[in-house]
């Protein structure tokens, strides 16, 4: 195995990203979908920090990651509130069953 470098981190982040998307599109449970989103955000964060580290871009990347984490928290809060709301109205949180609005 070669020396761990930037690409290794990128591979991890890409894998996380892909798994995140996969989770979002396949899991029926809305909460699981939210987990997928978190995965995506994490993958981007890895990118930021890895790039900053290996490209010597300074701390910008880390600050970015910090912001993303905060945003992720906010988003999760709102999203969960919405999911709870859905649960109240539909009595289910299975995303694929919530399709009254369609053509």
């Amino acid at each position: 195995m070669m020396q761990v470098g930037l690409n290794h981190f990128l591979v991890v982040s890409t894998a996380l990203f892909s798994l995140g998307i996969f989770g979002i599109v396949t899991r029926r449970n809305a909460v699981m979908v939210l987990m997928g989103i978190e995965l995506i955000l994490n993958s981007a964060n890895i990118n930021f920090i890895a790039f900053a580290r290996f490209g010597n871009f300074g701390l910008q990347g880390q600050v970015m990651a910090l912001f993303v984490i905060i945003l992720a928290a906010a988003e999760a809060a709102i999203a969960l509130a919405i999911v709870l709301n859905i649960y109240k109205t539909f009595s289910t949180v299975n995303v694929d069953e919530i399709d009254t609005l369609k053509d």
């Binding site: 978190e38 995965l39 580290r53 905060i70 809060a77 999911v83």
Partner: protein, 162 residues
Amino acid sequence: MNIYDIVFYLFAAITVLSAFFVVTTRNIVYSAYYLLFTFFGVAGIYVLLGADFIAMVQLIVYVGGILILILFGVMLTNKITSVEIKTGSVQVVPAAVGVALLAGILMASMVDTKWRSVETAMPSATTQGIGMLLIQQYAIVFELLGILLLIALIGAASMARK
């Protein structure tokens, strides 16, 4: 193959594998716990990348905040009494094809690209630097995030109150 590498592979494996389980396990609660491991793995990677502060934040916010939130979500949207909280998957095949294609493209281009890469020493403490950036260059973003959190608070409350 030094320690750094081994640790990296360890964390990478934890991260990716648990992420894989997150999106495949039928039991939601298990999923949530796998997510914990993923976050943990990511935090480890942050450490490997010299982002000590971010790693901490990752643990605190994600594990301490978001994950708990998600668990609450799981609990509130399912009947607690049922032992097995399971959920199915939909459209696995098209999703797998699509995601595989996308992942392939991403991987290929990520690996193929000649990134700007400079050999630098592992930065020491980053907290101060981040702090400076937050109140200088990124002051506006920082402030904005404050308002954003307020809005998120109000929004979530409003939603929940409904």
